[in-house]
């Protein structure tokens, strides 16, 4: 279970990105986060694993206070939180297998990993994860030779190497065409079915309504909606996205 309690983030003492946001995610839920660009979705996701330091508030993951964790403990917590990104964030010049193995760094002996040595088990696991996302044959190809959809699969494989209990996905399909988008979303759906909590920010409401168990909406850093995706009707939509917004997709 993930508890977000009164999280506030103020950038540079001036920009209010998140305003006192609270919600709870039970284990194994697929939670969609919607809202306009700049509404605080990315900030919220990054506050959960403290890639961004919240200004105030508390985040409690399975009883452990993430916000109070010291660096060593924070690293151990981060191992359990997978993350995939809109722009995939792969090291483009490295082979795919190295990108995937990077997901294992939190578990490996730092000294060995600095020399680029991973255990046999880790290697097998990396190939297994690549197999799972269907690109095992690309293991030794440089990441920049892959298409966007393939790169996002590498991103997923990397996150899975962490054996996460929770998966954060920051607009994972915003850079992909609709066909690829569904294939990526299906992987996330599978994870949810395996009991991994998925928190995914999304632009397209039809994706939200098709995959998410629950949706929350942010507007200017405020939580303006929390409920079932099917509850987002035209009226709610205009509340979230503003009066001029038109539904697409």
């Amino acid at each position: 279970m993930l508890e977000i309690k009164n999280i506030t983030k103020i950038y540079d003492n001036t920009v209010l990105a998140l305003n006192n946001v609270s919600f709870t995610v039970p284990r194994g839920q697929f939670l969609a986060v919607v809202g306009l660009s700049g509404s605080g979705k990315s900030t919220l996701l990054r506050c959960i694993n403290r890639l961004i330091e919240p200004t105030s508030g508390q985040i409690i993951l399975e009883g452990i206070d993430v916000t109070a964790a010291q660096p060593d403990e924070l690293r151990r917590i981060r191992r359990r939180i997978g993350m995939i990104f809109q722009h995939f964030n792969l090291v483009l010049r490295s082979p795919v297998i190295n990108n995937v193995l990077a997901g294992r760094l939190g578990y490996t002996n730092p000294a060995w990993s600095l020399l680029n040595r991973f255990s046999k088990g880790d290697m097998e696991m990396a190939l297994k994860q690549l197999d799972r996302v269907g690109i095992k044959d690309k293991a030794h190809v440089r990441a920049d030779e892959l298409s966007g959809g393939q790169q996002q699969r590498v991103g997923i494989a990397r996150a899975l190497m962490q054996e996460p209990s929770i998966m954060l996905a920051d607009e994972p399909v915003a850079s992909l065409d609709p066909v690829l988008a569904h294939s990526i979303m299906q992987y996330l759906e599978q994870l949810r079915d395996e009991g991994i909590t998925v928190i995914c920010s999304l632009h397209f409401l039809d994706l939200v309504q098709r995959y998410a168990d629950r949706a929350i909406a942010l507007k200017d850093g405020n939580l303006v909606f929390d409920g079932s995706p099917s509850e987002i009707d035209d009226k709610r939509f205009k509340e979230i996205y503003g009066e001029e917004a038109q539904r697409i997709g």
């Binding site: 690293r75 191992r79 939180i81 993350m83 990104f85 964030n89 294992r104």
Partner: protein, 609 residues
């Protein structure tokens, strides 16, 4: 009237501007001593012509010279019968208008049987007891050119002061080139020095890269921005870092000296036994402490690590000392392979000198994380009052240490007086000032430690970068002597700071996404750098290294002017000795090397990026 007044002011302003420009240029031309009269002077033009002609005739090849000598007797003064002239032999001969002349008399020297166009030098050889004490005095200032028929005639004036009752000699000398051309001495020297130059640049670049890479990470804003601390921990770090450096230095020095005494002084067997002792200790600690609680395990880990380091230091110290002995020996005895002995000697010296430095470095950066590791979880738990006391305590220490170190450094430069006296007062002032800071600030106030380091390193780099290697080399030439080593050090130092800056800008330009992604997996900072930063910076680092190597080759060709060895040293010598033909060879060689390396590095850079 109202309308014309602004335009009048504008005109006045323009006139003032023109006057100002004229004055600025007048002054500029005055101080730079521009003088168009000088280049027109005939004497200067002649000198320039000589230089340019010398440069246009590079001294590339030389021939074996056959010095053909033709003598004819002369009696000066003419106090007796003219000496008999030997009958003409085949080949060149000379004859005088008279073989018996007064001192200072003008005589005509005529020659025949020479080769058309060759140069004949005419000398007067005074009477000498034996051939060894013979000297040749020029009778004609320049060589006489032989005419088409193989003959010449030249009027010369006999020396007034070379008089003797004995028969003296008038000598004609022709230098004839024999055989095929061979590389001149100047060319051979140039080749040797060019090799020296290229390697000078190579070693300097290597040295620079080794140090510039780690420095570049510390000077990269995007990496350092995230390194933050709080007031108490920052003060603790400030206080602890010099202490750590000193401790590390002392411990490593002590261990190294301990190891060093066995080499040479005591039999090797005994030394080996002594070296085994810590190993035995290590093993016993391992065996006896298999069980125990966490604290005991931690203690054991520290003990074992400490022992391993100690054994390593002692071992390396012995190795270094042994290497020095062996290297010195091999340098003398290996003949053609003596460079290998030299290599062993250099590496051994690096070990011997490097061990205490390494200790200082480890101490500098090890004690700090240890303190931080203790303080980090501890601080949030402390009551505000205890936290404040701790902050003040560390601040007092930090202030005292910081001001003391600065005072000691200044004392070294300006020699104010006795070290302990000089340091005491600033240390107290620092302690008081920092205690004030600690009282004023919240102990948890975040401090951007990373940016602090960033600015310190950037300042140092910018300062040293503004000093040209040609200036640095003067200081190094004083320290290690004139020669390529001084050049290596000057170029190496400049390479560190210049490359450090270029590298760090590459780090600042990398994509942030992968860093974010790898951090999110729970990797620590070092792992993040290795997996997300380094793969991105390898190509630009190689490109900039080649670029710098290019610059270093160019710099190394002139570093000799400042005493840094290489071709520049030869060139400056040749110019000072007015040997323009040799200087010309040097310049051609420089041009070839610089141009070809320019081309090469451009090609390689094209390939990798």
């Amino acid at each position: 009237m109202k309308k014309s007044s602004p335009s009048f002011i504008r005109i006045l302003g323009r006139i003032a501007l023109v006057v100002a420009i004229i004055i600025i240029y007048a002054f500029g031309l005055q101080v730079t001593k521009v003088d168009l009269e000088k280049p027109q002077e005939a004497k200067r033009q002649e000198q320039l012509t000589n230089i340019l002609r010398g440069l246009a005739h590079p001294d590339l090849v030389e021939y074996e010279i056959d010095r053909v000598i033709i003598d004819t007797p002369i009696l000066v003064p003419c106090d007796g019968p003219a000496p008999p002239v030997a009958p003409a032999e085949p080949g060149p001969v000379i004859s005088l208008s008279t073989n018996c002349a007064a001192p200072g008399e003008k005589i005509i020297v005529s020659g025949s049987g020479f080769e058309a166009g060759e140069d004949v030098y005419i000398y007067f050889v005074p009477f000498a007891q034996n051939a060894d004490s013979e000297i040749e005095l020029k009778l004609a200032n320049s060589a006489v050119e032989v005419g088409d028929g193989g003959s010449f005639a030249k009027e010369v004036t006999l020396k007034r002061d070379r008089i003797s009752e004995q028969v003296q000699t008038v000598r004609a000398v022709v230098n004839r080139q024999l055989g095929s051309p061979a590389p001149s001495t100047g060319l051979k020297e140039t080749w040797n020095k060019i090799v020296e130059t290229v390697f000078l640049a190579f070693i300097a670049t290597t040295l620079g890269v080794i140090f510039a890479v780690p420095v570049s990470f510390l000077a990269a804003r995007n990496l350092m921005l995230e390194v933050t601390s709080n007031f108490t921990r920052f003060m603790a770090s400030l206080a602890v870092m010099p202490v750590g450096a000193w401790l590390g230095y002392s411990i490593f020095k002590g261990l190294a000296d301990y190891g060093a005494q066995f080499v040479g002084a005591k039999p090797a067997g005994e030394a080996f036994l002594w070296a085994l002792l810590p190993l035995v200790g290590l093993a016993s600690v391992q065996v006896t402490a298999q069980t125990g609680n966490a604290a005991l395990k931690a203690v054991r880990r520290w003990l074992v690590s400490g022992l391993v380091v100690a054994v390593a230091v002692i071992g390396f110290s012995m190795l270094g000392q042994l290497g020095r002995v062996a290297g010195l020996e091999w340098k003398q005895t290996l003949g053609d392979w003596s460079f290998f002995g030299n290599l062993v000697l250099i590496f051994s010296d690096v070990i011997v000198l490097g061990l205490p430095a390494l200790g200082a470095f480890i101490g500098l950066f090890m004690l700090n994380p240890v303190i931080n590791r203790i303080l980090e979880p501890l601080l949030p738990k402390l009551s505000p009052a205890v936290g404040k006391v701790l902050a003040v305590g560390f601040a007092v220490l930090a202030g005292a240490v910081l001001f003391g170190v600065v005072a000691a450094a200044l004392n070294w430069f300006y020699e104010f007086g006795n070290l302990s006296d000089v340091v005491a007062v600033p240390a107290v002032i620092g302690a008081v000032a920092f205690a004030g800071l600690a009282v004023a600030f919240d102990p948890h106030r975040p401090i951007p430690t990373g940016m602090f380091v960033y600015y310190v390193i950037r300042t140092i780099m910018n300062t040293f970068r503004s000093i040209e290697p040609l200036v640095m080399v003067v200081a190094f030439a004083v320290w290690v002597g004139i020669g390529p080593f001084a050049g290596v050090m000057a170029l190496g130092l400049h390479t560190i700071v210049a490359l450090g800056k270029l590298y760090s800008e590459q780090v600042e330009n990398i994509a942030a996404g992968p860093i974010e992604a790898v951090t999110a997996t729970g990797a620590n900072r070092l792992q993040t750098i290795v997996y997300a930063v380094i793969p991105q910076i390898v190509p630009p680092y190689i490109a900039f290294t080649l670029y710098r190597w290019d610059i270093n080759v160019r710099m190394s060709t002139i570093i000799g002017f400042g005493g840094g060895g290489g071709i520049g040293f030869l060139l400056s010598q040749n110019i000072n000795l007015l040997k323009y033909r040799q200087a010309s060879v040097n310049m051609i060689a420089i041009a070839i090397v610089v141009a070809s390396l320019d081309y090469l590095s451009a090609k390689v850079r094209e390939k990798i990026t």
